[in-house]
Symmetry: C3
Subunit: 394 residues, 3 copies
């Protein structure tokens, strides 16, 4: 008689862990008259920037899963990382299927729970970020290097769906840990490339000044934080970006920089070119350090020596960043705009940050941002932004 099949319960699988975190933010704007005229009156905001719950675990020795939803993002809830991982498939590497952050950019690959500032730097606007598809990835050289390549449908909406007879993309990122000394002494080099053929031949590049919502909030009629730079909708054949990463750390100090160069081949035959970059430094005053995460090729969070409470003051960190995003190009041709209308704008941000980590899982962050904006319709406008965040994760 035929046996019925293995007993899955005996193996201790599947496992499940519930995790989550939220970012409760308060943002205050002070714009000069030129800035209010060109981008509109930015409202002061108190909001949940992110609020996520996830389940993760293993269903077998070599298969794991992750399901994460954001209840604060447009979509409410939006699909975040929702995928299954099969380890060591045919000795090539690990395979990931579902929606995930496509491998491109050091800042984009850093978890939002471990960012030095409230938001990623301006050039993150170039990254394809979360899409539905398939990825191959692994470490190499005894965990001194990482590689990843992904193919996906593009663009994927906030529910993890993509449709259309066209609409595909690919992205790749490679990193190398050049130096790996004692006491958090590291030197990191990385680079990436992405090619995207958007379904509907429609592309748009834009960014807020490193605060607030970064995506279209289609459930609200009022969008509280305006985009400071914005190409408008472009009729695009494809959209390509390359970037280079350079970073290093020594004890409680970390420095990190990236440069991005993007091209959009427009349906009218011309190519528009954009670029952006950032450089940031941070220093933990209380002496803890942000470790280098070898399997991800990014720096992580620091954990206080002593928690805030009767025994201590927690951990304190200061940080500074310069970033810019230049979306001006003479060949830029937004749909419905006159030819040669280089309307995207160029934005520079200077940010000073103060982070108070009460314990491993609670952090209060404070950012002061000065934004310099150049747009054809309003040159040389300025805005000052104060932003505070309470973060707890579990």
């Amino acid at each position: 008689c035929c046996p019925p099949g293995a007993d899955p319960a005996g193996a201790g699988y599947p496992t499940v862990t519930v995790n989550g975190f939220f970012h409760a933010d308060a943002i205050f704007f002070a714009q000069d008259a030129a800035n209010a005229a060109v981008v509109g009156d930015a409202q002061d905001v108190a909001d949940f920037r992110r609020a996520r719950l996830s389940a993760k675990g293993e269903v077998a020795e070599n298969v794991s899963y992750f399901m994460e939803y954001d209840f604060a993002f447009p979509g409410r809830p939006s699909f975040m990382d929702v995928y299954v991982d099969v380890a060591d498939l045919a000795s090539i590497g690990n395979v990931r299927i579902g929606q995930f952050r496509t491998p491109f950019g050091m800042d984009a690959m850093t978890s939002v729970k471990e960012l030095t500032f409230l938001e990623r730097a301006l050039p993150t606007a170039f990254a394809p970020f979360r899409q539905i598809g398939i990825e191959l990835y692994d470490t190499a050289l005894d965990e001194r290097a990482t590689w990843a390549v992904a193919g996906y449908r593009f663009p994927t909406n906030v529910f993890g769906n993509a449709s259309g007879d066209s609409g595909y993309g690919c992205a790749t990122r490679e990193t190398l840990l050049l130096y790996d000394g004692p006491c958090n002494h590291t030197l990191h080099l990385g680079g990436g490339f992405t090619y995207n053929q958007p379904s509907g031949n429609s592309a748009i590049l834009r960014s807020t000044p490193e605060v607030g919502f970064s995506q279209l909030d289609f459930n609200s009629t009022v969008f509280p934080v305006p985009f400071f730079v914005d190409t408008g909708t472009l009729a695009a054949e494809n959209f390509q970006v390359m970037n280079v990463e350079l970073a290093g750390s020594r004890g409680p100090a970390v420095a990190q920089a990236e440069f991005y160069f993007a091209t959009i081949d427009q349906l009218n035959g011309t190519q528009a070119r954009f670029h952006g970059a950032y450089a940031q430094v941070s220093y933990v005053l209380t002496g803890e350090y942000r470790p280098y995460l070898k399997n991800q090729g990014v720096y992580g969070r620091f954990t206080p020596h002593t928690n805030y409470g009767k025994a201590g003051i927690g951990g304190w960190e200061i940080a500074g960043r310069y970033s810019y995003l230049d979306l001006n190009d003479a060949d830029l041709a937004p749909v419905g705009a006159p030819p040669g209308f280089a309307a995207g704008g160029a934005l520079q941000d200077l940010t000073f940050g103060l982070n108070w980590r009460l314990n491993a899982n609670t952090e209060f962050q404070f950012n002061y941002i000065h934004a310099f904006l150049d747009r054809p319709a309003g040159d040389n406008s300025d805005a000052d932004i104060l932003a505070a965040r309470a973060q707890v994760d579990f």
Copy 2:
């Protein structure tokens, strides 16, 4: 060499517990002709009034969190209590940051899982309820008193967000346990005040007859339960309410009453005044009692001596309530209405309730409500409402 920081994993933090509950309701209406004419034809409804999942836990000895979403409320899911608590901050008290029920009103502070009736009393329409902000709170006098004060953005939407250059509020509630005798013999006195400057200078007060949805259901085109009283949108400078609470218990009997007085300073310079109150009594036939929760200043649930099943019949409770909400005022000036149009209406409800608690976490509730409505457009109309609920919580 610098040490890396503490190991968070060793401390047993963070902890996480998943909780939830739902309310499955069936509501049947019988309106007289005048009532149907003035508020519209109320449809019979079967629905999930509330359906919540939450994660809560501690991330350190002195820091805890709560994340709760409601999948049945408008917003689907809506943000409920989403906050981080830091205990004993600088010896002042506990600090709460995020979205929470602002401290105002004994009925509003009672958990919906422990309500005597299906819904809170009519004057709850005056409470600011959940907003995003910061709260200080603690107990005093050896847990015989509680105090709480909160500042917040107002109004906060169902996703926990608020924006606008104006739009702030504050609320406070203080309670005192005057008598704390044996065998659930208690006497409670309390009071509160709230001041709110709505963003957009827009305020509205309204209520259904203590059944069904109590908030704008913007995802449905058909709103099944009509508002019986409704001021319409008011152009308002500010909105203030004060209330007093008096309650007591003796064994299985509980009595509770509140009075509310509200003023709205309208942009036209006039002040509109409203008031409301309720008084309710309940008695557990099977002898269990609702304990007084000292740290919250409210009465909780009763737990049956024997569960329903082979061994017993569970716990049975009867209850009665009178409540009213008077939204008429000669100075009321809804936007777009002629001056002096006192259109809010006055509503009185008589409710009889029967609660069958099968075990600590399962309850069937039955309410019969007779609603008396006076509105300018239709005086002296009546409606009879039968409502049943299945509740399970975990």
Copy 3:
């Protein structure tokens, strides 16, 4: 002095387990010109067909609950099974209150995590499926039979809500295990009936060709997979369906068939009649078998002898299905259409399936579907569909 009531904490209740699963699909269409003309151009899709999280547990020895939400379905999240079960109520049977799959149809009662193909067969379009209401159910004859009867509000929307002064339905299903031999040798007979009076007197029957979304996707402006057959909205007094089920298994082989007959009494006095059926066979090449689940009256999943990985190749299954759905009827009178306009269409699908189960909780499924469509506006059109799915459940 009165005792306070039992201590619920001592009993070990409530319990809670978090579960979930997702279906990440890729679908590719090849339509002939006639098919593209009559149903429109079907777009290639990559999407999350289903993505669910649930909490389940017990709150007492005889009371359990289930709360499940789908983050991919329209509604996002949609209410799935959300109910409380009370066992052995008054010796009649088990009682279920809330939203659940109404008892009708063997395919509909089979969990989507255990389907042989990506989607249920075409005639599932006749099943009322999930509604809010109350159900009585149990097994009989020493678990050789099951019975279930449910009364509910109809139709229930994706949030578990129904309203209207009319709008009720009932459904029932009975099954019998005729033969229960060794080594998964079984013979199953079943049948069901459902009567529904839709609120608003509005009914609609329709189906995609066994791929993609099966319900109205009201959050997307573009609905990627067209309905191949569609009656249009019918002004209906009531909607009735009966069905018969016949199925059997022998070791790794399973065969299953159902026939459905439906009538709609239209408000114009005429009755429209429809029918559909399917027959399917499956065989697990690696020898495992799909067990018969006696308390549900359906076949379950097979579990590989050896997991995919170093030790093995997992389990492999092949399957075939023929199904049809005939929505043509001379008396069909869609709202706004001329009398006698038999517009529903008749669809036949031939499906070949290949399932690779890596372990008990991970499966990759591949379906090739050939769809034959007859509609008045375009006779004899064809479409070929390739669909792949990654499923992980926990």
